[in-house]
């Protein structure tokens, strides 16, 4: 394939456009045309661009004409029903990332397990080495100043940040680690390919939104093994489905159970009992072995505990409130929604026993009744007394339909789709839709993206693009060939938004303030230059097609295609100084106008 034209191949685009024209009467049911819809019947290019900028990652070449032809209303309806979009080209491209289709069990067995096994073996071997060098080397460098050379002589120590995995790796471990890293690599690259090339643009934006809402961090322990399944099975199927269903899928996901520690949350009384039982068994075993016999010290590399340590650990284990707190503060009600610390504890008790079977080896969700606190709890004034796993389910029911949740969720959605400070009128209406439909996210999303606030003049170009939006929209707008998204993965890192790399459970912020800072701004300019110059290997802008030369005609065409004609006089003046088409494109993609959507 020589030229990969962003979202739609020209032929495919024409076919879909034609199909949509034919399907329009069916695809747009009457209920979608309710009086609440402010979707204009006829729209100028700027309005279409606005829709493409908000529902997706900006226009690709040809998109504006296509949407004009099918009408904005039909396009919105199409995007609200991604299952009706074939997206065959994307499917073919995603075949390059085999791990994204695998289950956690398969990933653990074939990708994560081997590296972990070698690591365990090497730890064991290392543990058996004598420590002879410790004292000697210490004495050698007492003098001190030889350090510079010593470190310089050790290539592993020079320059790069030192991570345990960088040093002293055996070839076997290195090979196994590559497989292990492929899990996250595939996931990150597939996310970018989808953002750039999927025809289901709204679905991709919503996956990004909801993943971020229910954020987990790839850098925390085993989360990276669980991420693939998490996004594919707990988030993606529900972004236009029911909120309660997504909430439940997240609550049961090993990724979230691990990230927010609920997998180790135990009814303290139950933990005490387990410890007592284990201690009693140990005592009996010791008696059987006979008194006076010296017990061999057991080696205890990480993860392998002695019985005494296990007992100690059980005794100190108990309730972990982290998931309970974030469930209310970040996933449902929102901060300051009137719940108390007593509610947090009650919710934590309700979720005791929601755990992972073999958490360190890619296990799956498990309800462990012996860890569960089965006593009744009071949450937000309501008694929860369903018993067993249903305690947690009732809490989710309660939270998912709470008015505070409706308001919190629609405010975030409106912030994403409309403005940093979403209008109260819109929030109120959309919250009502949320409650009336019991959390039907398709209807809630529809209420927001067909609202008069969405189409208002104030909302136009009111949002600063996040790094992901900037990178994806630049590649789309320039119609670049995307053969290898890896350089874009790296670019997002330097722009301050590494994929799957938000540490706190809040996820990334979604306002201009979160994304406009000195270092990141310079990196946006550098990205524009690199993309235009062909310095990102595997991402090629078709310069000749985009800007054949630096003439005024070329410049105007470029301002039209990349900025939709929206450029200040100063920006136009700077373009006139460009000496090459590459500079012209860089100055356009790096311009302040292109940072907005």
């Amino acid at each position: 394939m020589t030229n990969y034209p962003g979202v739609l191949g020209r032929t495919a685009g024409a076919v879909v456009a034609l199909a949509m024209v034919l399907l329009t009467p069916i695809a747009v049911p009457l209920d979608a045309q309710k009086a609440t819809s402010a979707v204009p019947r006829t729209a100028d290019d700027a309005t279409v661009a606005h829709v493409l900028n908000r529902l997706g990652y900006g226009p690709s070449p040809g998109d504006i004409a296509r949407v004009q032809q099918m009408t904005v209303a039909a396009y919105i309806e199409e995007q609200l029903h991604p299952e009706r979009i074939v997206d065959a080209a994307l499917k073919a491209r995603l075949a390059a990332y085999p791990t994204i289709a695998l289950s956690t069990a398969e990933l653990a067995r074939d990708y994560y397990g081997p590296a972990e096994e070698i690591r365990r073996m090497e730890r064991r071997a290392q543990a058996n080495q004598p420590t002879r060098r410790a004292a000697g080397t210490a004495a050698q460098t007492m003098a001190g100043q030889a350090t510079g050379q010593m470190m310089a002589g050790d290539p592993a120590m020079a320059g790069a940040p030192q991570r345990p995995e960088d040093r002293n790796q055996s070839p076997e471990l290195r090979a196994a680690r590559q497989k292990e890293q492929q899990i996250l690599q595939d996931l990150m690259q597939a996310r970018l390919v989808r953002a750039i090339a999927s025809e289901r643009q709204l679905e991709e934006v919503l996956v990004d939104f909801w993943f971020n809402h229910f954020n987990v961090f790839s850098g925390k322990g085993q989360v990276r093994v669980y991420l693939t399944e998490y996004e594919r099975e707990a988030i993606r199927p529900y972004v236009l489905g029911n909120f309660r269903d997504m909430l439940g899928a997240v609550a049961e996901s090993p990724a979230m159970l691990f990230y927010l520690d609920n997998f180790q949350s135990v009814d303290p009384k139950a933990a005490q009992k387990q410890a007592d039982e284990l201690a009693a068994r140990q005592q009996q075993a010791a008696l059987r072995r006979g008194r006076g016999r010296v017990q061999m010290a057991q080696p205890t590399p990480q993860g392998n505990q002695t019985p005494a340590e296990r007992i100690q650990q059980l005794r100190s284990r108990g309730l972990n409130e982290n998931y309970a707190r974030e469930l209310m503060e970040l996933h449902t009600l929102g901060v300051d929604a009137g719940y108390t610390q007593a509610d947090v504890i009650a919710v934590a008790r309700a979720f005791t026993g929601w755990t992972i079977d073999r958490p360190r080896d890619g296990g799956s969700f498990q309800f462990n009744a012996t860890m569960h606190d089965n006593d009744p709890k009071v949450v937000l004034g309501k008694t929860i007394d369903a018993g067993g796993k249903n305690d947690g389910e009732r809490v989710l029911d309660l939270l998912a339909t709470h008015p505070a949740t409706a308001k919190f969720i629609v405010t975030k959605l409106a912030r994403r789709f409309v403005a940093d400070e979403p209008p109260a009128s819109l929030v109120d209406r959309a919250a009502k839709v949320f409650l009336d439909t019991k959390g039907d996210l398709r209807e809630v999303t529809r209420a927001i993206i067909t609202s008069s606030e969405f189409f208002s003049a104030e909302a136009r170009l009111a949002k600063v693009k996040t790094p992901l939006e900037f990178v994806a929209s630049a590649v789309r707008a320039s119609g670049a060939d995307l053969n290898n998204p890896q350089p874009l993965v790296g670019a997002l890192r330097s722009l301050g938004m590494p994929l799957y790399g938000a540490q706190p459970p809040t996820g990334w912020g979604d306002t201009a303030e979160d994304w406009v800072n000195t270092g990141a701004l310079l990196n946006r300019l550098n990205f524009a230059v690199q993309l235009s110059n062909g310095q990102l290997r595997g991402v090629r802008v078709n310069v000749r097609e985009l800007a054949p030369n630096t003439s005024e005609t070329s410049r105007n065409a470029l301002v039209q295609s990349l900025l939709l004609g929206h450029a200040s006089q100063i920006t136009r003046d700077t373009l006139a100084k460009a000496e090459s088409p590459q500079q012209l494109i860089a100055l356009t993609l790096g311009s302040p106008e292109f940072q907005k959507r």
Binding site: A135, G148, T300, Q503, G509
Partner: protein, 406 residues
């Protein structure tokens, strides 16, 4: 051009040439408000504090660590004595003179009151400054910066010599992550000047209320850095920095400080401390790197250390007892180092809880007697001169003053 800017830029240019007349440097410095600098070093991976600051006066220390304990001072491979009870690991000998001169202090048995033994969570808490609270989005250093936005704050007021901005510096106040000073700026090839002035013109005319001022900061920062000849830097007083990423980060922080670019908070990190097995030789090399970096930094800055403090931290300590693999596992309390001209050094601070089993946290770890926020709070108020830090550690008020700073 006003006098202040002239002096600022003038001194900058001369520093880069390396032969500023003394009177001129003095005049230039006097024109600037004396700015204190805090350099934070994060030892990621949980350093074994008991082999870093060795409690050689404790019998229980030697009982719990038959093969990895550091011997008493005066024996081969023994600790470097500090105060007759504590000593430094022998590979940290380079720091001993600073302790003896009263410029290096240690706070022992410090850390977070949260019981977590997860690296991730504990680092997160130490950087967010809110132990037990996961949803804090910004870091404590950023909240400090935000609480005291200076009138003419430099773009280099807060710099992390890392690829990505660490959690501690994330937030609304401007902070830069630069892993290589030489790579900061616009990299636009042959006609870089034209590209830069074009972008600058575009953004100066931007209607956006955030893009416009931020771009000005960015382009000013590029020019400021251009005035310093980065490649020709020679550390002073014979200082030799380790060649590690960490050592080079400290060297670049020293460069920024000497160039008077308005640096107030710097961040560097040192990794590879998670020694579950065969700890002895590994920690020896790591502590050598760690200590010789700080020693080189202090040597390089010389008298400049009067206004500078280095503060080190690590997410938690390690088990008192060695495990069956001659390593240590995740523990609780740890030690922090403070080095600087205004540090009341020569002393190991913090109530020492002892290492006997019943004195330990959960029977296994060094207990915590000083909340790490007490140390941070004191550094912010007494060293950096912050008046109100209630927003930096929300919901927390320091329990007492340790008296770490002159």
């Amino acid at each position: 051009m006003n006098r202040r800017i002239f002096l600022k830029n003038g001194s900058l240019a001369l520093v880069s040439l390396g032969f500023a007349p003394a009177f001129f440097t003095r005049a230039a410095q006097a024109a600037q408000t004396k700015r204190k600098v805090l350099v934070t070093v994060f030892q990621r991976g949980a350093v074994d504090g008991l082999n870093m600051v060795v409690p050689f006066g404790e019998k229980a220390y030697y009982q719990a660590r038959p093969s990895i304990a550091i011997a008493k001072p005066g024996t081969p491979g023994g600790a470097v004595d500090l105060d007759g009870f504590f000593g430094l690991h022998p590979r940290m000998a380079a720091l001993q003179p600073y302790f003896k001169r009263g410029e290096l202090a240690i706070v022992n048995a410090t850390g977070s009151n949260d019981p977590t033994r997860s690296h991730f969570d504990a680092q997160d808490y130490m950087e967010s400054g809110t132990p037990g609270r996961k949803s804090t989005r910004d870091g404590w250093l950023n909240r400090y910066l935000h609480a005291r936005e200076h009138e003419e704050a430099s773009a280099f007021r807060a710099v992390s010599l890392t690829q990505q901005l660490p959690r501690a510096l994330q937030g609304t106040a401007p902070a830069l992550a630069i892993d290589q000073l030489g790579r900061f700026g616009l990299r636009a090839g042959d006609r870089g000047d034209m590209m830069q002035s074009s972008f600058e013109a575009q953004y100066a005319a931007a209607a956006d209320s955030l893009l416009k001022p931020t771009s000005k900061e960015a382009f000013d920062a590029i020019r400021q850095l251009e005035a310093v000849d980065l490649a020709k830097y020679t550390p002073q007083n014979g200082a030799v920095y380790p060649n590690s990423g960490y050592g080079q980060a400290l060297k670049q922080i020293a460069q920024l400080i000497k160039a008077n670019m308005g640096l107030e908070v710097a961040f560097a990190e040192s990794g590879n401390w998670d020694h579950h097995a065969n700890e002895g030789p590994q920690i020896a090399n790591r502590l050598d790197d760690f200590a010789s970096g700080i020693a080189a930094f202090a040597q390089d800055l010389g008298d400049g250390m009067a206004d500078v403090m280095v503060l080190t931290m690590s997410e938690f300590g390690r088990t008192v007892s060695e495990n069956g693999a001659r390593g240590t596992d995740h523990g609780h309390g740890n030690a922090m180092l403070l080095l600087g001209g205004d540090v009341k050094g020569g002393k190991v601070y913090g109530k020492w809880p002892g290492l006997e089993r019943e004195q330990r946290y959960e029977g296994r770890d060094l207990a915590i007697t000083t909340d790490f926020r007490d140390v941070f709070a004191e550094v912010l108020t007494s060293h950096l001169g912050a008046r109100d830090i209630s927003s930096v550690f929300p919901g927390y008020s320091a329990t007492r003053t340790l008296g770490l700073i002159r």
